[in-house]
């Protein structure tokens, strides 16, 4: 797993070790990226962040802070933050550690379909969880 942490700068990671800012809402956590990286104004950054949550089907979590979120909502916020980075590769690192309240292979697949983004999504997971992904594929 050290290899995941050492991934290059062009990779956006969604990982347990990269938490949200606890005292910011989901919207503010996502809006930080356009605000500080692309120097958009606060209103425009919030609009972009809200659009990202809308696209993932989680518009209603915008005002929640990290401690008030379910694991799935937290994951979606982290994913939205990673997506708004607009990096060519997205790595989801050990999703089972973050998504323990939903059957995560199908959940991630559904989010990927909704996000409709360019670039590649990669999932790094333990080999013994392979069976979960196979089950998700077979059930479709």
């Amino acid at each position: 797993m050290a290899a995941v942490a050492a991934l290059p700068d062009d990779v956006a990671r969604v990982a347990l070790e990269l938490p949200l800012r606890a005292n910011l809402s989901a919207l503010d956590n996502i809006a930080l990226i356009p605000l500080y990286q692309r120097h958009y104004g606060a209103a425009e950054s919030a609009l972009q962040a809200q659009a990202m949550l809308d696209r993932l089907g989680y518009a209603d979590i915008a005002l929640l802070r990290d401690p008030d979120m379910t694991p799935a909502q937290r994951f979606v916020t982290k994913l939205a933050r990673a997506l708004i980075l607009k990096r060519p590769r997205l790595v989801v690192d050990r999703p089972g550690a973050m998504l323990y309240d939903v059957p995560y292979p199908s959940f991630i697949r559904q989010l990927a379909a909704q996000a409709d983004m360019t670039g590649t999504w990669e999932i790094y997971d333990f080999s013994w969880n392979q069976v979960l992904y196979n089950q998700a594929l077979n059930s479709e």
Binding site: E17, R21, A22, L32, H39, G41
Partner: protein
Amino acid sequence: MNFLATSIESLGAKVVGWFGVGYGIFAFLAQAVLLLLDRATWNRATFDVVIKQVYFTAVQILTVFLGYALVISWLIITIILSTARDFGLTEFASEMTIRVLVLELLPFLTALFVALRSGSAINTEVALMQVNNELDALAHCKVPPMQFEFLPRLIGGVVSVITLAGLAGLLALLMAYLTIYGINMAGFEPFTRTIAKVFDFRIVAGLIVKCALFGLAVTLIPVTAGLETPKKLFMVPVSVLRGMMRVFFAIVAIEVVSLALKYI
């Protein structure tokens, strides 16, 4: 002999540790100053966070703080006035009040107030951010923590301590006038003359610099203490304890140096 060697080693390790802490604080300050001078830092986002910090540190506590300053000022002025009357030195009461309250006690108490309220909160928050990897997450997203988290807190602390001490000083001057001369204009001329005599350029500049240093101490030291926290949750209270002790010593040191420069 063995005991002596151990004691010297232990003392040496402590001194080296203090130098390490001092170096860390000044290195962080230098980094912050360099960033402050960079034009790219001053975008709308940083400015908004600075405004938010000033609001949390100064505006939110304004009524409580002014009430506290009012009570302290009234008590000290009454003590000074009654003592001055006992010794037949009433004409020096207003100057004494200004020197003791406005120049020394109120800035010192303001710094303590902000340190206990905001300094401890900053120390805890930065320590938790460090332990929870939130700073790593910001770095991964290329959101500069210095610009987003730390610099606004430093500026907010400096601005807040200067303005709160200034407001408390004005309130104390008003209280002093009312207590010494009552509600009339009879004492306005001698009182304003005393103010003009005490507040020469050197004293005003010294007061502003002292308050700015207090503001820096109550924010910079908690931030650096928080950043030193090992990534273990149980170390957060230890970090806050260390940070607040350093803040206390720094505030006392600033006050002592300021007094020495003024009166020795």
